[in-house]
Amino acid sequence: MADLATRPPLLHVARSRLRLRPGQTGVVIAGLVLLTTVAGSLLAPLVWPLDQSAVALDQTRLAPSWTHLAGTDDLGRDVAHRAVYGLRVSLLVGAVAALVATVLGGVVGGIAGTLGGRVDRILMRIVDTIAAMPHLLLGIFIVAMLRPSLGAVIASVGLTHWLSTARIVRSEVLSLRNRPFIDAAISGGAGRLRVLTRHLLPHVLPRLALATTLMIPHAVWHETALSFLGLGLPPHLASLGNMINDGQGSLLTGAWWASLAPGAVIVVVTFAIAVLAARWRDRFDPRVRAELHL
């Protein structure tokens, strides 16, 4: 039993995921779409380099064609090309920000869960209160105080998105604390820090990895919203939010395509992640299994 308990759950997850059944075509498509878009945008500098500050003032606002699959924008830049890089920029910012949030949430949740008692209560009250602050408003406040920049956007996402991670880690640590092998370690004379790093961390890490991954789309959204408001990345950078913001002006002059491609990229990637996450939840949600009333 102890053996089973110490095995990281992610392994089970991975093993059972590989078996595919007919009803899972949607999942397969979503996975493939996600894989190609993400890999494509990450590898883009190798195959399709982009000069972020290039303009072509003689090719402005061309409708989609075979040379410009998604048309060109107000400054004659290829929308499809920039959308690929927009996703890349947004994903990188999202990933770093999600990592920051995870570390922050992990530390707070870990401290709350390990120390327990009053510290736990106070920390969780703070988490509850910050959860009541509208993410976007708090994010805007942080960006405004740090001045809009790449670092500010990452800080803005990181400082607003760590709450769920803190809660996950705390509850995980709390449940682990009651397991016999932790008791054994403590009675064996191991220090608190040692127990935390040697025994608790390996258990919590898989959950953290999953939480970080699922946070990336949220981080991308946050970045996109800030950029759209003109509070995010420098506006000449091809990020998805900047592109939609730029495209807003083109909409009225008839160049609807300028905001279509970046928006579609967000929708497709988020949708794919949502499909995967929903299936994931269905798989591991005990409620679904309880459907059989015998």
């Binding site: 500050s53 290039a54 303009v55 003032l57 003689d58 402005t60 107000d74 400054l75 004659g76 001045r147 809009p148 920049s149 003109g230 420098p234 506006p235 000449h236 950078l237 730029d246 807003q248 002006g249 909409l251 009225l252 002059t253 008839g254």
Partner: protein, 532 residues
């Protein structure tokens, strides 16, 4: 009403006018609403003032609709008397200015304007406790006094040629403001002036509603109400213009051009003194080399910027004094298109040789610099990118950086910045502070620390001399020196673009300044506008 066909509207208007005649003959004046002279005009702008108080920078160049200055400007931007009976006289030593006030001018609340009101207004600007940023513009004023109720005397510290141009500042009633904290006074939201319109209401972020001042000293406005709609978003403004909500709206050139083909609208592209350029700081090791600055000046394609970014609504710029000004010097005007060959030759001669990645190198230093632009300004972003692309063609690497003003602030000594300025009224106004070594490194005035004795002398002469011919000569020297030193890379003069309904009559565009909004826009004379 707004969607009514012209013929129907004309019919309705003429019937109403006929009715008016009959009524006017036999009874007291009827309600003017709906009558021929009683239209409501709606104009839209993105720039909402912070406070409607001339002391706090509202409409300081006149044409503020609510206030009048001692003088104002006509359609050709020539000074004419306004609250003063005639253009004030400058004393022979150039240090005393006396203005006689017009008789019986009333504020909107019915009180009479007297000289102490004028004195109060100027003293409020000069009062250090008042957060007025105009103070530095009136630096030369030593004292303002009112020897009698109809006379105002300005005493200057030093002779200042264009001082009369500073007398456009709107006059506020002393009675309503004395003894108050002007910074936070309720007056700033609901002001009282002498101008053609009274403030009926102001909903911040939405609209300012003005009603005609029946007893305006220069004659009652030809319309009854003016609504200034504040619509920050260009696209929404264009959409609402299209929906017929506005009689006139300022729009970015590209959006305005969408109305060109429609006979129901008229697009006005108004010449301005509003220029955009790149400030090249001498504190940057690459930009300190005059050869690099001159090469950039040759390499930028101003014609492409005008057509590609401004949609044709602009002119190439080569100096800070607009072509419309009598002080402009034609000899500095260069080729509107790029000349990368000449630029390359300049760089070669100066020892900037092609290096790795297509970027030139001199003494191991790559030709790279950062070009900052205010992130919220799309036009400046576009221009910055165009400069970046042009510079790349001659082997100069530019890194654009979109920042907020307070992030730009500490970096202006060493990083290039896309700036915009310009006023058509007098060449001294902006240029003196922008290019005089006195102001080197002082805030936004001469952030690049440009220093040239020739320029300094020319600017000082332009300010000291009263004789227009001597001034013209001084400013010619000034412009030539700038063209040789290239402390700024002048790119374009904008044309402010407005869309009007074709039915609007009485519009008289005049050369506009960088700053324009409720005041000092195309509707500077809206009190004479009518609808056909």
């Amino acid at each position: 009403m707004t969607r009514m066909r012209p013929t129907v509207r004309r019919f309705a208007a003429s019937t109403a006018a006929a009715g008016m005649l009959v009524l006017a003959g036999c009874s007291a004046p009827a309600t003017p609403d709906g009558s021929a002279g009683g239209t409501t005009l709606v104009v839209a702008t993105s720039d909402e003032p912070d406070a409607l108080n001339p002391v706090l920078n509202y409409g300081v160049d006149g044409a503020s609709l609510i206030f009048d200055g001692l003088v104002s400007r006509d359609a050709d931007n020539r000074l004419v008397a306004s609250l003063a009976t005639a253009l004030p006289e400058l004393s022979p030593d150039g240090r005393t200015v006396t203005a006689k006030l017009r008789d019986g001018v009333q504020f909107h609340d019915g009180t009479t304007l007297t000289a102490p009101d004028v004195v109060f207004t100027y003293q409020a600007v000069l009062d250090p406790r008042v957060d007025s940023t105009l103070r530095s513009d009136l630096d030369m004023v030593e004292s303002v006094t009112a020897p009698d109720a109809a006379t105002v005397v300005f005493r200057l510290r030093y002779p200042y040629a264009p001082f009369l141009q500073r007398l456009t500042l709107g006059i506020v009633p002393a009675r309503l403001l004395s003894g108050q904290d002007i910074n936070t006074a309720g007056f700033n939201r609901k002001p009282v002036g002498t101008g053609p319109y009274k403030v009926e209401s102001w909903t911040p972020g939405d609209r300012l509603v003005l009603t005609a001042n029946e007893s305006y000293f220069a004659g009652r406005p030809k319309n009854n109400r003016v609504v200034v709609a504040f619509v920050a978003d260009d696209n929404v403004r264009a959409q609402r213009m299209r929906a017929g909500e506005f009689d006139a709206a300022e729009l970015p050139p590209k959006l305005a051009s969408g109305f060109d083909a429609d006979a129901a609208y008229r697009v006005q592209r108004v010449p301005t003194a509003d220029y955009r350029g790149v400030m090249l700081p001498t504190g940057n090791p690459v930009l300190a080399d005059p050869a690099v600055r001159r090469a950039l000046n040759l390499a930028v394609d101003r014609a492409a910027m005008v057509s590609g970014i401004l949609g044709g609504a602009g002119e190439p710029a080569f100096g800070p004094i607009p072509p419309t000004s009598e002080f402009t010097d034609a000899s500095i005007i260069g080729k509107p298109t790029a000349d990368p060959t000449a630029a390359g030759a300049l760089l070669d001669a100066a020892g900037w040789t092609p290096g790795p990645g297509g970027i030139r190198v001199k003494d191991g230093r790559p030709a790279r610099f950062t070009l900052m632009y205010p992130a919220s300004d799309t036009l400046r972003k576009d221009l910055a990118l165009a400069v970046t692309a042009d510079a790349k063609k001659i082997g100069i690497g530019v890194t654009p950086a979109g920042l907020t003003w307070d992030a730009i602030d500490p970096r202006m000594r060493s990083d290039a910045l896309l700036m915009g300025y310009g006023t058509p009224y007098d060449p001294d106004f902006v240029s003196y502070k922008l290019f005089s070594s006195q102001f080197a490194g002082q805030g936004y005035f001469n952030p690049g620390s440009y220093r040239s004795e020739v320029t300094d002398r020319a600017l000082q002469q332009g300010r000291d001399q009263i004789d227009p011919n001597l001034r013209r000569a001084a400013y010619a020297r000034f412009q030539k020196q700038l063209a040789a030193d290239v402390p700024w890379l002048f790119l374009t003069y904008l044309r402010h673009t407005y869309v009007l309904k074709s039915s609007v009559r009485g519009v008289a565009p005049r050369v506009e300044a960088h700053e324009h909004g409720v005041a000092n826009s195309l509707w500077w004379n809206i009190d004479t506008w009518t609808r056909s």
